[in-house]
Symmetry: C2
Subunit: 206 residues, 2 copies
């Protein structure tokens, strides 16, 4: 059912399918055709069928996909049948927004520790979590097995924080700093930078 | 030099090139080869040369790219030789983080107005900007020509806010709400949803 030969672009669309199926479910639907899904996702039905065919057969010709069972399969393929622990480094505005966001836990992610270097936020609570000194990062991560780190520090500190996380065994990094991080091949980085998205859109504006 | 026949995936990499060139410049470099660029961006040199060839010839075989002149060309291709005005709707944690972020203006974007429906934030200032009632959205946008809207409201309000922005003539939307927005074909949407990025990474974790 699962293979690393699946193109990365296909894998990156699976969470989008899950999000859209969830919306359809909330709209009261129980079955969806590939053309309805395509309409919502601005994709062709055949592209959707091809994406899903990487993981086996879903749905039947003419009857469409059963939404709940397709969601269960996607959650299993994406390893979302467990709660993933996340540590967050940098409790400025973005870090605070993430700590206060309740959408993570509902979708399989729990921020278990938050770190900063500033006495202004160390000891304070955000989203119920007390901020620790970044000096304690290594000790804390060794005690709790964590797979994912979220970096929300200023650009100039991001690579150093990244190096420390990698040394602690973190295998996936969500990077909010506007820099390209250097990591070993075994570590994944996903960048969240609104400016990159805006600069792409302005190409088409004019 | 510019054409809408350029594949979207190529366009979406141009801001990344710009970001990396900027880093190289700060590191004191003035020339870069496609293989150095490739190392930084985890791409092959030939992929980079192919991307850039869509926009004419840059650099010479054997001598590499002049960083400043390549950056100038990319900025011009991406229409970044002007300041783009942005309106922001939703001044919760994420909205406040964006209003306090100084990276936008340095990179060609200025948030010129912020709106919310809550009396708790209307009239307050964030990043020097006073939050207005969302009831004034249409009036305000008609007075200042704005091209880009940032949606940072809860998921359940996002489509309604989006519809209002589209009616006001907004042509590009940066959407932080975890929903797929429906827009006319002439309007671009870029989604920023950390959960989608995390769910992609967990596919490879295990």
């Amino acid at each position: 059912m699962k293979s690393n030969d699946v193109p990365e672009i296909v894998v990156s669309r699976l969470p989008l399918y899950l999000q859209t199926l969830n919306q359809l479910l909330r709209d009261g639907k129980s079955v969806v055709s590939s053309s309805e899904l395509g309409d919502r996702l601005k994709m062709t039905p055949s592209q959707i069928r091809r994406d899903l065919s990487h993981f086996g057969g879903f749905g039947k010709q003419g009857t469409g996909y059963d939404i709940i069972s397709l969601m269960e399969s996607l959650r299993s393929i994406l390893n979302l049948n467990q709660i993933w622990k996340v540590v967050l480094i940098g409790v400025g505005h973005v870090g605070q927004a993430l700590l206060n966001y309740d959408g993570f836990s509902r979708k399989g992610f729990e921020i278990v520790a938050a770190f900063d270097e500033s006495p202004k936020v160390i000891g304070k609570k955000f989203g119920g979590l007390e901020v620790k000194s970044v000096d304690l990062l290594e000790t804390a991560i060794c005690q709790i097995p964590v797979d994912i780190g979220a970096i929300t520090v200023p650009a100039e500190n991001a690579q150093m924080v990244c190096d420390r996380l990698v040394k602690c065994g973190i295998r996936a990094i969500l990077n909010y700093a506007p820099v390209a991080l250097e990591v070993p091949e075994s570590v994944q980085v996903s960048n969240i930078d609104p400016v990159l998205k805006l600069q792409k859109m302005t190409y088409y504006l004019k």
